[in-house]
């Protein structure tokens, strides 16, 4: 724009203009500015709209996953069935499998229904047990094995309802949709409605979704994200304790000590490029190096952490170097001027001042690693069903596990719509983690920030 040329009239001194009237040129410039502002506001509004839509759909779809339908009934733990010898020997008790417990629970349900005067609309009364999750026998068995004194008593149990019944109360399952469903009939729903009226069945908050373990494909009501959370936790430990010291040490060397030559230039370019390498490339590298060459266990958080460390390092190095660069050179001069060595000037003065930036970069790198799925795909952390809590710290690092985003992916691809709901719920938990980490980053930045 040739703002400086005075060829178009009024500005070149021949004609006098008033300050109160806008010239055509000024009007055009003001109009351009207004248009630009409108574009900006429009872009922000569009962004906000999508953000709100995204958050709304996540919350609306995910919240039901935190609730579950439970059946509360008294179960008589018959001694004749559970402990024939009557000596409460743990080895004998363990011999009774869930098949031994199942009839007890079923008959307890039938008894409870009859007590409440609820009609059982099946030719075989036993069919009503489909209302309950197939995991209930195991739940009762675990309780008994943990406390054998309960045998012979009648104990109140809070048992999971089947995912179809649960879905009915959450609006996912209707009587019409059950016509083609072999797992449950419409009559079961009639019984379920009656049980709710009688107070035997209730939908309430389900902590097992947050703290529990994954379950098989046919039992979505039992699945929880807890174990994969542990997997993610151990991976983050590995990433933090490898990527932070290595990344910070590398940045300090490159920024403060390394000579400026073509080798360091090459390294610099490569680090910047590594930050942009697709994460799946790190996954296949991890598969080749850590699993096939170094023979580390598959699906282990240790390997996952190593791969994510490789992925996070460039992020940490770039942000650390940026924050080291941001420390004014006068501070280095001041330290060198009083006779500090290079290392003293870095560790006593430069590093503390760069700390907020380093910590923020690290936490953002960790958050990125926490949400990463693709590299886990290749080292076997996706597809593994994390059904056992690791026992102990070593097992936490070395025994197969999953990670939160991998678990979510796993749920999302399962056929049962109940798992779809759980995938959304898992997303909420993951987002809560990420937000917490970002808030910590902001707080740390505020706390360590110093002016110079």
């Amino acid at each position: 724009m040739s703002d400086f040329t005075a060829d178009n009239g009024p500005t070149n001194g021949t004609a006098k203009t008033s300050l109160f009237t806008q010239t055509a040129r000024t009007k055009r410039r003001n109009a351009a500015e207004t248009r630009f502002k409108v574009y900006g506001i429009g872009a922000i509004a569009l962004g906000l709209f999508f953000l709100v839509a995204l958050l709304f759909s996540i919350v609306a779809n995910g919240i039901p996953a935190f609730k579950q339908t439970f059946v509360t009934i008294p179960v008589e733990l018959t001694e004749a069935k559970l402990d024939k010898n009557g000596n409460r020997d743990p080895a004998d008790l363990a011999k009774v499998t869930t098949f031994g417990y199942k009839p007890l629970v079923t008959s307890a349900l039938i008894v409870a229904l009859k007590e409440q005067g609820i009609e059982i609309p099946f030719a075989k009364e036993k069919d009503v047990e489909d209302i309950l999750s197939s995991s209930v026998a195991a739940q009762v068995r675990d309780t008994v094995l943990a406390n054998p004194d309960l045998i012979g008593q009648t104990v109140d149990f809070r048992l999971l309802a089947s995912s179809r019944v649960d879905g009915y109360f959450k609006g996912r399952v209707t009587r019409e949709s059950l016509v083609r469903d072999k797992n449950l009939d419409a009559e079961h729903l009639d019984v379920a409605d009656a049980m709710v009226d009688a107070g035997l069945m209730k939908t309430s908050f389900n902590p097992a979704f947050i703290f529990g373990s994954d379950a098989s494909e046919s039992r979505p009501e039992q699945a929880g994200i807890g174990v994969s959370m542990i997997g993610s936790f151990f991976m983050m430990i590995v990433v933090l304790f490898l990527a932070l010291p290595i990344g910070v040490a590398a940045s300090i060397y490159l920024e403060e000590f390394a000579p400026q030559n073509k080798w360091t230039d090459l390294i610099e370019v490569n680090i910047s490029n590594l930050a942009a390498v697709p994460s799946i490339v790190f996954g296949i590298l991890g598969l080749a190096v850590f699993i096939q060459f170094a023979h580390l266990p598959q699906s282990a958080p240790l390997v996952g952490g190593l791969v994510l460390t490789l992925m996070t390092l460039p992020t940490i190095i770039i942000s650390t170097r940026a924050s080291l660069k941001a420390v004014p050179p006068s501070i280095r001069d001041a330290a060198l001027g009083v006779g500090a060595s290079k290392m003293q000037s870095v560790f006593h003065h430069v590093l503390p001042l760069a700390m907020p930036g380093i910590l923020t970069g690290t936490i953002i790198g960790l958050a990125q690693a926490l949400g990463e799925t693709a590299p886990l795909l290749l080292i076997g952390m996706v597809g593994f069903i994390a059904s056992n809590m690791p026992d102990g710290i070593t097992a936490g690092f070395l025994s197969p596990n999953s990670a939160m985003p991998a678990q979510i992916y796993e749920w999302a691809k399962r056929a049962d719509p109940a798992y779809y709901e759980r995938a959304w719920g898992g997303i909420i938990i993951l987002l809560v983690f990420l937000m917490t980490m970002n808030i910590i980053a902001v707080i740390l930045r505020r706390r360590f920030e110093r002016r110079w």
Binding site: Q260, A334, G337, V338, A340, W452
Partner: protein, 265 residues
């Protein structure tokens, strides 16, 4: 500020503290300092004057090897401190900088307390055996920096909270805390107002009793006020070096005269 407020004192100016011979400095391909010979006396204030970019700061930074931190900078020739070549392979620049302290153009206190600013140097050089020793060094240095009275009640307040002039005196106090023999000052007053400048100049004159002071300045009046010796640099050459009075009243080189009278610069 043109009057000479500082009363000249008679001091012994015979001992050579720093002697530079044939010093050449290159920044990459640029020849920044060309064959400079200079003898800096002990217990004297020596001023380096000259137009911007003439190399006076570069030369100053050679005297305590601060140019080592610049990768592309190369120094040739010989600079001796008390007869020892400071560019000798055996010299550790850290030890050298403990002997040759430096004050910079912009006040640059550490973002720490006033006390820690002063105590940092003595701490890393192990000059204090215990807390009481350190307290003493801090007080003595702040007194030498002519700032003790202003900060004695808030030693643990941040050094960055002081005014510009106070910060610069704090930096001078920090530099003298390590008991250097030479004090290099790179335009110490260019960021200060006239009153703060006067305070710093008075301080420089007092420091002369204990140290050899080398000061780079843009202000010829300042050079005339505080220094006993003056060196005039132009385009990387040391044009003229001599007693301040002689340089300002009776310069031998016509470039010096042109600069002093304001015709070049």
């Amino acid at each position: 500020m043109n009057d000479m407020r500082i009363v000249r004192k008679d001091v012994d100016m015979n001992d050579t503290k720093i002697s530079a011979k044939g010093v050449q400095v290159y920044y990459g391909d640029t020849h920044a300092i060309k064959d400079v010979d200079v003898e800096i006396k002990d217990k004297t204030v020596t001023a380096f004057i000259g137009p911007s970019g003439c190399g006076k700061s570069t030369f100053l930074r050679c005297l305590n090897r601060m140019n080592d931190t610049i990768d592309i900078c190369r120094v040739e020739g010989k600079i001796e401190l008390d007869g020892e070549d400071i560019y000798d392979k055996r010299v550790d620049p850290v030890q050298l900088r403990a002997k040759v302290g430096m004050v910079f153009q912009k006040p640059n206190p550490f973002p720490k307390s006033i006390y820690d600013n002063i105590a940092y140097g003595p701490r890393i050089h192990g000059l204090a055996k215990n807390k009481a020793d350190l307290d003493e060094i801090v007080e003595k240095s702040l007194r030498r920096g002519a700032i003790w009275d202003e900060v004695k009640d808030r030693l643990h307040a941040p050094g960055t909270g002081l005014s510009g002039g106070q910060q610069q005196r704090l930096c001078i106090a920090r530099a003298v805390a390590t008991e250097p023999e030479v004090l290099l000052m790179d335009e110490p007053c260019s960021a200060l107002d006239p009153i703060a400048t006067l305070q710093v100049e008075e301080l420089i004159d007092e420091l002369r009793e204990n140290f050899s002071v080398v000061i780079v300045t843009h202000s010829m009046q300042q050079a005339a006020r505080v220094s006993q010796k003056t060196a005039f640099f132009h385009l990387g050459n040391l044009v003229e070096y001599g007693d301040t009075e002689q340089i300002f009243t009776n310069p031998k080189d016509e470039r010096t005269e042109s600069y002093i009278t304001g015709r070049i610069g």
